[in-house]
Symmetry: C2
Subunit: 426 residues, 2 copies
C-alpha cells in the first residue's frame, strides 16, 4: 500500500499531529501483538545451514590428495586443495593463500597483534612502540572491525563509504599522517551498505602514497561470492593492483566459508604477498600446531572445486533473496516519499543499510525493542558506536524465517515513522 | 645383551682405543643399512589416530543437549557438554573451563599476547610497557614454550626440573624480582622428563610470595590423562591450591585432546579463576566468533563422558607402552653400567629424556642423522636451544611403528657410545 507521497516535512502542524495520532495507534497495535523478532545478527538461517548437512558425514577419508594423513599435526598453511578453492574464488594465486581455523576475524586479530608486538616486514619498529597508531575506517562499517581496534588501543579516523568504495580523497588526506598505519575495507557487498569497491577506487587505494612505509589495507572480502542477483560482481584485484603499483605488502585479504557452509564450523583464509605471507606464517608457527585439516578436507569433499562453491551460493541466494525483497517491500511501501528514510537495495552480502531522519535512529531502535523487535544498536556501524547524525540502522534479514522478516519490517517501518513524527512535532 | 659393566672412564687408553674401533665398526654397519627413521616429534602414531576414526561419521546431529544449533555462530566458551568432560578430567569446576579450537598452544599464545598488550586483571600496566618481562623456565622443558617466549620478547630464566617438579627454592629466589611475571610448567608427565609435579611442590608454587602482583603460572597439563602404566597419577589441584593460598589468578591451566583423538583436529581447553576466565573471554570476544562447536559435539558423541576418555586412553597406552619399553630395553641392554648415559623410564606422557656424556649430545644427534635416524636437535629442551652441558636429548617414540623404534634405538645407543668414546679418546 502506498500511503502518501507528501514528505512529512511539508505537512502542516495539524496534519502532523493527526498523523502522529494515527501512527501511534498503529504502534500500540504493534506492541499489543507481543512480537519476539530479531534482525540484529548477520547469521545464516537454519535452512541455509541445512544446505551443508552433508558435512555431518564427511570427510570420507583422512588422506589428502598427496596421501598425507590429515588427522595428525602439521601443515601450517592448510590443505592445498582447500587453498586452491579459495584462490579460485578470490582470484588470487594459490601460493598467496593460507587456510586457517573457523574464523577470519581471528586471522585479522592475529595480524594486528603481530603488527603491534613485532611489526610487519617493512615496519621501522613494532606498532606498539609508536606513540600512536591510527586506522582509517570507512563508515558505516563493520562493528567488529572497530571494536577490535578499540580493544587494541588503535585510534580510528573515519571516511565516508560511497557506493563504489571509500572516499579516496578523504583517505589520501589521512594517510599523509605517518601514524595512520592502515585501513579496513569490506570491498564487496560491504557491511552494512552493500557497496562494492570499484576497480578504480581499489587501484587508487593500492597506489596512493602513504607516509607510513608499512601501511596495511585489511581487505575483508567476507562476501566475495555472496551474490543476491544474477549479476555476480567480481571483486577488485587487490593483490595484483598493489603489486603493480609497487606496494605488494599493502593489502592483506581475508575470507571464510562462515556464510557458505556452517557459520561456526567453517574454514577461514588469508591471502597476501609472498613477504607478508611468510611473515604471517612465521608468527603463526610460534602459536599453532597447524589448522584443522580434517575440516579442510571435509569442505573440499563437500564442494569438489570453486564451481561447487558457486553453485552452492546460488542455493543460498534462492533462500535469502526473498527476505531482502521483503525488507525492500516493507520499506518502500510504507516509507517512500515521506522524506524520512533512505535505504540500500543490495545485490549481495548480508545487510540492508537504513538511514532514518537525523537524530532518530536510537529512538527507532528503542521503539522497536519495546515492540519486541530486536535491531542492532544504533551507531554500531561507527567507531565507538558513535553515529554523529544518529541516523544509521543496520538490518540483518537472513536469520529469521520469511514471515518473521515481513512482520519485523512492517513494524520497523512504523517505528521509523513514529520516531520521525515525534521529532517533527516536538 | 649386557656387554659390560665397566664404566668407560675406568678403561685404559688401550682398551678405550680398541673399543672405539669396535663401536666405530658397529656404527659403519649401522650407516650402511641406509635407515630412514624419525624420533623427533611427539606425534601419535597412525594406529593411535585410528582409535578415533568414528569421528569421521560424527556428530550424528547438529543440536547440543540444550537444543541449540551448533552449526551457527556463538557460544564463545564452548559447548557445555565438552566443558564438563574437561572439568572431570582436569578435576576442576566446569564453570572454570573454556573450550576452544584445535590447539592449546594457541590459547597459551592468546593469553601471553593479551597480557603483553592489555595486562591481566591484576596488572599495573600491560606487560609490553614494562622495561623487561621474564619467565621462569624449568629445564629441560618444552621447546615450543621457550620459542613462544623468545618470539614475544620475554626473557627466560631457568630452574632445574626435578622428578617432583621445578626446584622450588630456585623459583622462590627468582620471583623476588618484580620483572619475573610468570613461569611455565608441564605438571604431569612433563615434556621431556616425564616428571610429575607433586601436590607439595604445586602448593609451594601457588602459595609463594612473588614480587609481581600479576605473576602467572601457565600450567600446561597436556598429558594429564596420558598414563603409560596402571598407576594413573592424579595431577596436583593447581586452581584449588592457588585459591586456598589467596592467589586465585596465579595459575592458568591448559589441556587438549590433541593426543587423545586426532592431533590436528582436536579440542583445546583452558581453566582458570572466575576473574581470569572473564578476562580471557572478554579478550577472546574481540577476536573470535566462537569455537567450532560442531567439533565439540563430535568429541562429546565419541566419548559420552570423561570415563569414555579414560577408557580410550587405555587403548592408547596399549599401543604405545611397548614402544617405551623398546626404548628402555635398547638403552639398558646397551648402555647400563658404561657411565655415559642416564635416561628416564616415564610412567606417562610422550617422551624419554636421555642425558648423555657432557659435551656429546650434539655429536650423538649428528651421528644419528648421518645414520638416517632423526633426533630432536640437541639443546631444544632449553631456552634458545642452549643446553649448557650439551648432554640432553629428547626421544619421542610414539610416531614410528614398534620395529622402527627398536631399530632406531639400537642405533641411538651405538651413537651414544661412539660419541662418548670419541671424547674420551680425544
Amino acid at each position: 500500500m502506498t500511503t502518501s507521497v507528501t514528505p512529512l516535512s511539508a505537512l502542516s502542524a495539524d496534519d502532523l499531529a493527526a498523523r502522529l495520532t494515527t501512527v501511534r495507534a498503529a504502534y500500540d497495535e504493534l506492541k499489543a501483538r507481543g512480537l519476539k523478532l530479531d534482525l540484529t545478527r548477520g547469521k545464516p538461517g537454519a535452512d541455509q545451514l541445512d544446505l551443508s548437512n552433508a558435512l555431518l558425514d564427511l570427510p570420507s577419508s583422512y588422506r589428502d590428495r598427496s596421501g598425507a594423513d590429515v588427522r595428525n599435526y602439521g601443515g601450517l598453511d592448510g590443505l592445498v586443495e582447500m587453498r586452491e578453492i579459495f584462490a579460485d574464488l578470490l582470484a588470487v594465486d594459490v601460493a598467496s593463500v593460507v587456510c586457517g581455523g573457523n574464523s577470519s576475524l581471528t586471522m585479522m586479530h592475529q595480524v594486528l597483534t603481530a603488527l603491534l608486538l613485532k611489526g610487519g616486514p617493512d615496519s621501522p619498529r613494532p606498532w606498539s612502540q609508536e606513540p600512536v597508531v591510527k586506522f582509517v575506517c570507512p563508515v558505516p562499517g563493520y562493528d567488529r572491525h572497530f571494536t577490535m581496534l578499540a580493544e587494541l588501543g588503535i585510534e580510528m579516523v573515519s571516511v565516508p563509504m560511497h557506493s563504489d568504495g571509500p572516499d579516496v580523497a578523504a583517505v589520501r588526506a589521512l594517510v599523509a599522517d605517518p601514524s595512520v598505519k592502515g585501513m579496513w575495507i569490506v570491498p564487496t557487498y560491504a557491511n552494512p551498505t552493500g557497496a562494492v569497491c570499484s576497480a578504480e577506487v581499489a587501484a587508487e587505494l593500492m597506489a596512493m602514497p602513504t607516509a607510513a612505509p608499512d601501511f596495511r589495507i585489511l581487505w575483508d572480502n567476507a562476501y566475495a561470492v555472496h551474490h543476491l542477483t544474477d549479476e555476480e560482481t567480481k571483486s577488485a584485484d587487490a593483490l595484483g593492483l598493489a603489486a603493480a603499483s609497487g606496494h605488494p605488502n599493502r593489502p592483506i585479504m581475508f575470507a571464510s566459508t562462515s556464510k557458505i557452509t556452517w557459520a561456526g564450523a567453517g574454514v577461514a583464509a588469508l591471502a597476501a604477498s609472498p613477504e607478508n605471507r611468510a611473515w604471517y606464517l612465521e608468527r603463526l608457527g610460534f602459536a599453532a600446531i597447524g589448522p584443522d585439516k580434517v575440516n579442510h578436507l571435509r569442505h573440499v569433499e563437500l564442494f569438489g572445486d570453486a564451481d561447487g562453491v558457486r553453485a552452492h551460493m546460488r542455493k543460498h541466494r534462492d533462500l535469502i533473496a526473498p527476505k531482502f525483497a521483503a525488507v525492500e517491500d516493507a520499506l518502500s511501501s510504507r516509507l517512500t516519499g515521506l522524506g524520512i528514510a533512505e535505504w540500500t537495495v543490495p545485490t549481495g552480502g548480508y545487510f540492508v543499510n537504513l538511514d532514518v531522519l537525523d537524530g532518530t535512529a536510537s529512538r527507532v531502535v528503542q521503539l522497536a525493542k519495546e515492540a519486541g523487535i530486536a535491531l542492532t544498536p544504533a551507531g554500531s556501524a561507527f567507531p565507538h558506536g558513535n553515529d554523529p547524525r544518529d541516523r544509521n540502522i543496520r538490518l540483518a534479514p537472513t536469520f529469521p524465517v520469511l514471515a518473521e522478516v515481513e512482520a519485523a519490517m512492517a513494524g520497523v517501518a512504523v517505528c521509523v515513522e513514529l520516531a520521525a513524527l515525534e521529532q517533527l512535532t516536538a
